[in-house]
């Protein structure tokens, strides 16, 4: 059996190899990396804590706005912007978590939906700061780490996004492999029992919310920096749903689910939109249906099931 460590290495190698394999698709690769990071952060809540939310765009959007505004008004250094975006989203995660986590299941989904709407409307009203419906303009990013200016080829953007994703993935792995991460799985499997073994369930879930929000905020900040623009729909309900779809497509709670699901979704979207600009949504929907029917636990669940069957056949 391939070890987890080898697969982790494979993921990092794939990120590094992408520009050589598909040099003409660096912008697409950048988008894949950013959305993979966003789906990865959502996986911490959906896959590991068992908390389904439709509010993840709020964290992504706040991270994007915070980093964008920081670049416009304070400092155009990208790495500092990432920190600002992550912190802003973590703060929202702390507040939202303490409110949302009083509920579960459908109520939680509704409340998370409401959170996105509130944040989006706040961004819309605060047009003096965010540009409102026109989006946040006038971002001019400085060179990454003072040495690598963003160029038209998209090479720096891709490398930057891929590196941030790689580092974030290692953080994500550390979290899910820690005793903390295992206790989140315990909460997902049987929350009542966790109370009865002495686990401070609320504290754990809030911490997971903050970590998840921070990673989503970093993804948002990346998006703002490489696009040098923040659109109002970065905090949209529709985008929240898309992130969830990407994650489910790849497989929630399965380590590599987000890294498989998000790029696949972006690829299908891009391919279908070029092939059939009129009806591509229809084809995308049909393909999603097919995948969900054929691989109910997501693609990574399907592949690991396949590997298991092959091993058994060999044995």
């Amino acid at each position: 059996m391939i070890s987890t460590r080898a697969l982790d290495g494979l993921v990092l190698a794939a990120l590094a190899a992408f520009p050589m394999v598909a040099p003409g698709y660096l912008d697409l690769g950048t988008r894949m990396a950013i959305l993979a990071l966003c789906a990865l952060s959502l996986d911490l809540l959906v896959g590991y804590c068992g908390l389904v939310t439709l509010g993840h765009a709020a964290f992504f959007g706040v991270g994007a706005y915070a980093a964008g505004i920081f670049a416009v008004r304070a400092w155009a250094e990208p790495l500092a912007g990432l920190v600002v975006g992550g912190l802003a989203a973590a703060l929202l995660g702390l507040v939202a978590g303490s409110v949302l986590l009083r509920s579960r299941r459908l109520t939680l989904i509704m409340l998370s939906l409401a959170t996105v709407l509130v944040v989006q409307e706040a961004a819309n009203r605060a047009a003096w700061l965010t540009g409102g419906a026109d989006g946040l303009q006038g971002i001019v990013m400085g060179p990454v780490a003072g040495a690598f200016p963003f160029d038209l080829s998209g090479r720096v953007s891709y490398t930057y996004a891929a590196l941030v994703l790689a580092v974030s993935f290692l953080v994500f792995c550390a979290v899910i492999d820690s005793t903390f991460g295992r206790s989140l799985v315990g909460i997902r499997e049987n929350e009542g029992r966790m109370h009865a073994i002495g686990a401070p369930v609320d504290v754990r879930l809030r911490a997971a919310f903050v970590i998840s929000a921070a990673l989503a905020g970093v993804a948002g900040a990346l998006q703002a920096q490489v696009a040098e623009f923040v659109a109002l729909n970065a905090v949209g309900v529709e985008f929240s749903g898309e992130i969830l779809i990407m994650l489910i497509l790849g497989g929630a709670g399965r380590r590599y689910g987000a890294l498989v699901g998000a790029p696949l979704y972006v690829f299908m979207q891009d391919y279908l939109a070029r092939e059939d600009p009129t009806y591509w949504h229809l084809w995308l929907g049909l393909m999603l249906l097919a995948i969900v029917f054929l691989a109910p636990g997501g693609l990574t669940a399907w592949t690991s099931g396949l590997a298991r069957r092959m091993r058994r056949a060999h044995a």
Partner: protein
């Protein structure tokens, strides 16, 4: 007289207009072996839920070593030394036995909130898990998910989780409920081997088991303590004979 490990003073619990537990006074000493018996619906499980903190009482107070824990939440009471099992198995069904136990061990060691993987810590947890699985004869099953295992084994895991918390008071809510007759002996054999200093409160319907296990028996009827005494006194108590022992022992 030394302070009792656990003391209940006039503890009550009502659900709506129904008073399920009424003014129960009870105390447990260190190392005590106590059985709690009574007909179905007598409030035995509710009483355990009140002691463990799963339910807040509607009246009365609960002390541990003289300290008032009435308002203390369930998770904090576990830290204070109250462990329990559930009448209906409550496990992490999709996880392996070793993972089930590791969760409890990590909580008990106070390291479950650690955010970084730590190999030394992991092996410390694994070592403790191995001790527990060896003690309960679960070694053959450790890597299997709980849900595919026989119910008797699942009940042993239930017990193992409680023991992983190294409680000073253990509340056992019908540890052999639903277990095939052939495997019941294994569970009570494990119960008999519990550490001596541990105070155990056992809910059990099988009178033979109760009389063999307990030094004292408390009889709960309609939420109230009906009688309390040694197994001998209880078996000679005319009211208890009529009320409880005359009934079919299994509900």
């Amino acid at each position: 007289m030394p302070e009792p490990l656990l003391e209940l003073g006039g503890v009550s619990r009502r659900f709506g207009s129904l008073e399920v537990v009424r003014h129960v006074d009870l105390s447990l000493e260190r190392g005590e072996r106590r059985a709690l018996v009574g007909p179905n619906g007598a409030g035995k499980t509710t009483l355990i839920n009140l002691i463990s903190g799963r339910l807040p009482p509607s009246g009365g107070r609960i002390w541990m070593r003289g300290r008032d824990v009435t308002a203390m939440r369930e998770a904090r009471r576990v830290k204070a030394g109250i462990g329990r099992t559930f009448q209906v198995t409550s496990l992490f069904r999709r996880l392996a036995i070793e993972e089930n136990l590791a969760l409890a061990v990590a909580e008990h060691l106070g390291v479950a909130g650690r955010l970084r993987p730590d190999r030394a810590l992991r092996s410390r947890i694994d070592a403790r898990v191995a001790e527990i699985t060896a003690m309960l004869h679960l070694d053959d099953y450790v890597t299997r998910p709980v849900e595919v295992l026989p119910y008797g084994i699942q009940r042993m895991v239930e017990l193992g989780i409680a023991l992983a918390l190294e409680p000073s008071i253990l509340l056992l809510d019908e540890p052999a409920a639903g277990v095939p007759r052939a495997d019941v002996g294994l569970i009570f054999e494990a119960v008999d081997r519990l550490p001596k200093e541990l105070a155990v409160l056992l809910i059990e319907h099988d009178i033979d088991v109760v009389f063999r296990f307990a030094r004292r028996v408390t009889v709960l009827v309609a939420g109230e303590i009906y009688a309390e005494g040694t197994p001998h006194e209880i078996s000679d108590h005319p009211g208890v004979r009529a009320l409880y022992l005359g009934e079919a022992p299994r509900g």
